[in-house]
């Protein structure tokens, strides 16, 4: 579904959009001519220092958060009949978190250390949705990407934010692993950067004279509006606008500080772009493999280990730069998993999970409320969510927009701000 700007405003609610626009310094109702707008919006100046920058890590497959942020005092956790039983983490192996009864999976030592040292690690307990209690990966992912349950919104929540905050900017929505649907807006393209170092044109010397110039000219807008060919032209034009600035961010010494894991390499690209001052407040990376119906005892240590190591390397690099206090990571998944291990050394699809928010201006601690794990309180063996995931989004959006009206404009409804970020 494609929305026009007018349609977007209607969906968002005019009054709240106007309020957010004022706070964002945008005049959303001035008729931006395409040429004038393009000139303004294609600005590639770095974001002012102090501008919050989100790095969303999408843990795809449904993260078994019960085994990530572990409560060994939960009487059901070790239960063989109704709990994680054989896949539960031994209490002696759990990494303690000072001041709380919960601890981390043993493959997450960096996060545990960061909790104690920087006090900027937040865990949101019980995020999920109580609208449809979706158990399907793809429906659940869709709901989280669009942050809507009416079926009438086709844009992503971060795409809508950028449509307000940086409409038309070819740099605002950065996705490292393909186009992430959460970034899809109506006016702001998604810039995919699989590798900064390879973000260069490669033309055979035998015919290179004039070749790139001709390719760029093909993105000049000759096709009729509304056609797929026109969309294709725009993608070419955006590629050329972004290329040189992205490629200039390449730094092999920085990239070498990251593991070769997929998530490590993705976060390496983000670190390079952040350090280079690419004007984006929203980066998205993905880490798949969390659909642990089986063999979780081997899959999960690898996944958490890769994530934890990559986070450490990422904050090492970003922390040494000028935006150490701006960048934060939000790691989330489409749902948690069932509480009873299924006999395949895994567990099936669940509901409530745990979100991680770490980094710049995050006030460390536990947020939300842990769902009851008692078998009788579960929904098809899943934990019933206690925090609407859109409240987490609202918290992040209000921080990104530096206005409490931002989330209402993007989500078309008020959701509680959890107060994770310091002013």
């Amino acid at each position: 579904m494609t929305l026009t700007r007018r349609g977007f405003l209607a969906h968002s609610g005019l009054v709240t959009v106007a309020a957010a626009g004022a706070n964002l310094g945008l005049d959303l109702f001035s008729p931006l001519g395409e040429a004038a707008g393009a000139a303004m919006l294609r600005s590639s100046r770095p974001l002012p220092l102090g501008t919050p920058i989100l790095v969303l890590i999408d843990l795809q497959g449904g993260n078994d958060a019960t085994n990530m942020l572990i409560d060994p005092t939960d009487p059901w956790y070790y239960d063989v009949q109704h709990g994680h039983g054989s896949i539960a983490i031994q209490e002696s192996a759990i990494l303690p978190l000072s001041g709380v009864s919960r601890g981390l999976h043993p493959s997450m030592p960096w996060l545990a250390s960061r909790w104690a040292s920087d006090h900027d690690v937040a865990f949101v307990l019980g995020p999920g949705e109580n609208v449809v209690h979706e158990f399907s990966h793809f429906a659940a992912m869709h709901y989280r990407q669009v942050a809507d349950f009416t079926g009438s919104v086709g844009t992503g929540w971060l795409g809508r934010f950028n449509d307000l905050a940086a409409a038309g900017s070819p740099f605002a929505s950065v996705s490292i692993s393909g186009v992430h649907p959460a970034l899809v807006g109506t006016r702001t393209p998604v810039l995919t950067v699989p590798s900064v170092a390879y973000f260069d044109f490669n033309v055979d010397w035998q015919w290179q004279d004039g070749w790139l110039h001709a390719w760029r000219a093909m993105g000049g807008g000759g096709a009729a509006r509304g056609t797929m060919t026109r969309t294709s032209e725009l993608a070419i034009a955006d590629t050329f606008v972004a290329q040189s600035k992205v490629f200039a961010a390449s730094d092999s010494a920085v990239a070498a500080q990251f593991d070769s894991s997929d998530v490590g390499q993705q976060l390496a690209q983000v670190a390079l772009l952040v350090d280079a001052g690419i004007p984006s407040q929203t980066y998205v990376v993905t880490l798949g493999g969390f659909d642990t119906h089986g063999d979780e005892d081997s899959a999960q240590p690898a996944l958490f280990g890769q994530l934890d190591a990559a986070l450490g390397q990422f904050f090492d690099v970003v922390g040494a730069g000028p935006r150490a206090n701006d960048v934060f990571v939000y790691a989330t998944s489409e749902f948690g998993r069932q509480q009873t291990a299924n006999g395949s050394a895994g567990c099936d699809h669940g509901q409530a999970g745990v979100d991680i928010i770490v980094g710049g201006r995050v006030r460390g601690g536990l947020y939300g409320k842990a769902p009851s794990s008692a078998p009788g309180a579960r929904l098809d063996d899943a934990l019933v969510p206690t925090v609407d995931f859109r409240s987490v989004y609202a918290t992040i959006l209000n921080h990104l927009g530096r206005s409490s009206a931002t989330s209402t404009a993007v989500l078309a409804k008020h959701f509680e701000d959890l107060g994770v970020f310091a002013a």
């Binding site: 393909g178 055979d204 390719w215 000219a217 096709a223 060919t229 969309t231 955006d238 089986g294 299924n342």
Partner: protein, 433 residues
Amino acid sequence: MGTVTERQVAHIWRRLGFGPTDGDIEHGVAIGTKALIDDLLHRRPTTPAQWRLPKLSSWEDQAPYLGRQLQLMATSPNPLQERLAWILQGIVVVGVTDSVAFDDLRGHVSRLRVNPFGSYTRLLRDTAVLPGMMKYLNGDQNTAEHPNQNYARELMELFSLGLKNLVTGRTNYTQNDVIQVARALTGYTLDWRSNRIAFDASYFDDGQKHFFGKSQGHAGLAEVISAVSRHPAYRYFIPARLYKELVGHAPDVATLKALGTHWGTSGNVRSVVSAIAHSPAFLAPAAIGSRVKSPVELLASGARVMGFPLGSSDYGWQLSSFMNQHPYFPPNVSGWPEGTTWLNAGVDMTWGGIVQDFAAASAASSHGIAAKLWLSESPRSAPMAVARVCGITDVTESTARALHAYTTSGSWDRFRAAGALALVLVSPEFLVN
């Protein structure tokens, strides 16, 4: 500007195959669109002996196997078989994982390829107990004592029914149905030494099951597949997907109901594809150029045009790391995204590099398409001729001007002709399908 018929012929080749190559448009115009569609629908399926797919048992085998599969997409005498096999690979999804070996994937993909025109219901039954699917969705771990819901859920959600009936809007199954179907699918175990699947009654839940609103007795796999095929949503879900793949947009309700009749409980792929291809909507202006080529489609189509030997090449790295569409590593069990998500900088720039290889190979040959164009065209006539060779019947003014500027600057030789071919392959017109 091409004629209406030329445009339609090129479209038929793009949707029922991987695009036209030199001479296909002229031939299609000569015999007419209906005859061309019938020709493509009724070509004899190629056999595994003809595929000459190399072994696929280790990481090192991946490149030659992938190259050969892409080569078949580009050059098979039965393009529609290749197109449908590729569509099915994006619907009945299996990927290589820690537990799914390359050889398991080979078995799965071979089953999809051998007769993609046949009974989809039979295909579901067959793939359910092949090692690829069994391992990918934990079927081998689904036992009476410890049921695993993974395959049961995706069988219904992704492979057969969808969440909601596309005609009535009703929810197709409940969470309890998933649990019950998972119980019915127990009993199949994997012998790790022989890598064979066998039914072992001691692992089968022989109890009474109740799903789709009624008692299903002591149902097992055969009964599950049978019940799924008789579910009211079965006749719409995959036909709607095929329609969208081939036409480019969703069918209306009347069309979907008609397709459902063709589909029936057997899942008659050929009948549905024939009905779609012969429908006015298939050749309507709204369908032409309404899709975007995915990275795999770009490779197959581009190599077909350029006569490039994909079989001896390795683009696995580019497909997986930069373009996000390696055929053996789907992002998840729902397959790959579609539509405008492929129009992005990562794909554009990577494709822009790959076409250099295609053009260089052509330029290096005195019999290649680049040499042929160089000898037969002038710098001024070349742009339209190059576009035509690439199966493009209509170009925008901006593309025409850009090509003209390129071919008329510098000396006109087969290298510049090769460069012009590479330019057409990255043009907005070629990126769409």
